[in-house]
Subunit: 367 residues, 2 copies
């Protein structure tokens, strides 16, 4: 999407230097920094420290990581080592494993000498596919927004609430949850986005930055506020992304999503989840029982990063010294709370029937 | 309660200087500062800027404000002016109006020359009453905690979740939601408290500070985490405070309380609200429709205060420049989501029948 009129993806291959470059999201929204990722250690750190983040973007990054590994040493042993090394960086988003599995399945039958080039080509392919998938998610979500707009007086905005950043920064381009928003805005439908700040990492600031750069009207709110807004009829629809959706349509996403889904249900607000098919874990049915939830470090909760009045990017400690903090990074929204899933192939019910109806070949392959 | 072994209230009258002193909560948990409140402007600022905060403590502070007004000018006109001036500082907590109304009802029939002394005596009385009320709330809540403890293996902690700070800092002493916790801890029942950070003002840091000073085990979590914890059976009971509870048992409390009540219901976790009777608004039935919700300034959401590594207390900006923020400070939890109300006279159903059964004379007086 555009930043001050210039088009960017969240990562790209620098052909001249032969290296992956990323927008380092740890400095956003205050500072726009592009950094290269040149070693396996840097790939691991970039994912773990959330310099790149969001399920689809993690997948694409991991594919480039595998390409680097194959350039360094295309042996089977190194392929396995790279798979393991990259996979352990984040345990919840399924796209990471999906991309690594896809790379291994593609590369393993090849002679070693062809693997480096093939791995890089595959990473490009995964990145390009992600862009196209998200564009289509946007088209399918746009139809839902159009319906809501049609039921409103001319000029009244459709009010959408989103949690975390499922924006173009969480993907290669377009975003998942934001793709319908960008397309609706570009189609001239008036929108107003309620942006959950999304503690502890405040990814809402990334969403605000994106929306602001694209010119979409929005308001940044605490994660606590959404229920109140829904009670007072100020939200027409919720759209979130997901880090892993089960075969039965349970949605694992950034911690706090479940609370918004409960509030949506209690107030009759439609709750949609936008997802590219690589985010579906066809091997898992019960999300609450089966999906491992990453527990991240305490400092993410007890300290908050931002910009000081003097302009420095610094962290402040909010809690008393020594306060124990808990930091589960994701939760699972049971399918019964999800109105529908917006995928690249259309919108379906959050159920096994819904998902297998749209993606019969993937469902079958996993059986 | 105790700070490093010494007993404090959150405010007290300094007889020697003839002035009210408060713990200035804007600097907690990083810095413990006691400041005098000596002018009407300082009373107004202390309440608006949340140097004193929490429904019961606001009530007591307002009573001292009225005492100052009467010492300055005990006329009827000044009494009305002080009522209006203090009442507008916070629109949601009903205790503010309750204390001012009580002062006016007491003082108006008196000759002017007696009003200053009577107003001060009344403020002392309200403060002392608050302590006694909260002590009794603790006894009544303790019985509920004992029941849960009795159903657990010896030594396993009762895990309570609380939102905001309904601790002794929000009252004159004991707290409302925390009073049962302190009494259970003192009675030797093992506890573990999940402390919601409570954005945007992070009052969870105050609760952590209090609990830490008293030695009660706890974990500070984001507001987003509670639903996930309940889904995984890690919460035995929720206890919150309230800023205003309607005649029918709808509970207005810090923004985000409603989301926790929804999660508690969805997971079969008992959800209790601790409240002193002055927090009941007998004139209001439907909380969502009738209670005015204070909208506070945007900077509370876009900026976060804490302690820098260098030790200074500073605020950092989290959002991009110019991001519009929304900041509703309270929400309303409908009575259907509340398991019970813990009052100074016992525990009752969150309903008109429940409340009027415990407080028939107040209910009747408001009719």
């Amino acid at each position: 999407m555009k930043i001050d009129g210039r088009h960017y993806r969240s990562l790209w291959w620098n052909d001249e230097k032969g290296v992956l470059e990323i927008i380092d999201q740890c400095w956003l929204p205050h500072d726009f920094r592009v950094v290269p990722v040149e070693t396996m250690q840097e790939f691991s750190d970039a994912i773990y420290e959330m310099r790149v983040r969001g399920a689809p973007l993690i997948g694409a990054t991991a594919a480039y990581g595998m390409a680097l590994a194959m350039a360094e040493d295309p042996s089977d042993a190194n392929m396995d080592a790279a798979w393991t090394y990259l996979e352990k960086t984040r345990p919840t988003a399924i796209n990471l494993r999906w991309a690594l599995d896809r790379a291994r399945a593609t590369l393993l039958p090849m002679p070693e000498r062809e693997r480096a080039a093939a791995a890089l080509a595959l990473a490009h392919e995964i990145a390009d596919e992600d862009v196209e998938i998200n564009r289509r998610i946007g088209e399918n979500g746009l139809a839902l927004i159009r319906e809501i707009a049609a039921g409103k007086p001319e000029g009244e905005p459709v009010r959408l609430l989103t949690h975390c950043n499922a924006g173009w920064l969480a993907t290669v381009d377009w975003g998942t949850a934001t793709s319908p928003m960008y397309q609706a805005h570009d189609a001239g439908i008036p929108l107003h986005i309620w942006v959950d700040e999304t503690r502890p990492r405040n990814q809402g600031a990334l969403t605000s930055w994106e929306l602001g750069k694209h010119g979409v009207p929005h308001t940044y709110i605490t994660d606590n506020a959404g229920g109140h807004l829904m009670q007072h009829g100020m939200v027409d629809m919720v759209i979130t992304g997901t880090d892993r959706t089960t075969r039965c349509g349970d949605v694992c996403n950034k911690i706090g999503t479940y609370l918004k889904a409960l509030a949506a249900q209690d107030n009759g607000v439609p709750f949609y989840v936008a997802l590219p098919s690589p985010t579906i874990d066809w091997t898992v049915r019960d999300g609450v029982a089966e999906i491992p939830i990453e527990e991240r470090k305490t400092e993410e909760v007890t300290h908050i990063q931002g910009r000081t009045e003097a302009g420095a990017i610094d962290a402040v400690q909010v809690t008393p010294d020594g306060t124990p903090g808990g930091n589960p990074a994701f939760d699972v929204t049971p399918n019964r709370l999800v109105t529908g899933l917006i995928t690249e192939r259309g919108v379906c019910e959050a159920s096994e029937q819904g998902l297998t109806g749209l993606f019969p070949e993937f469902a079958q392959a996993a059986e």
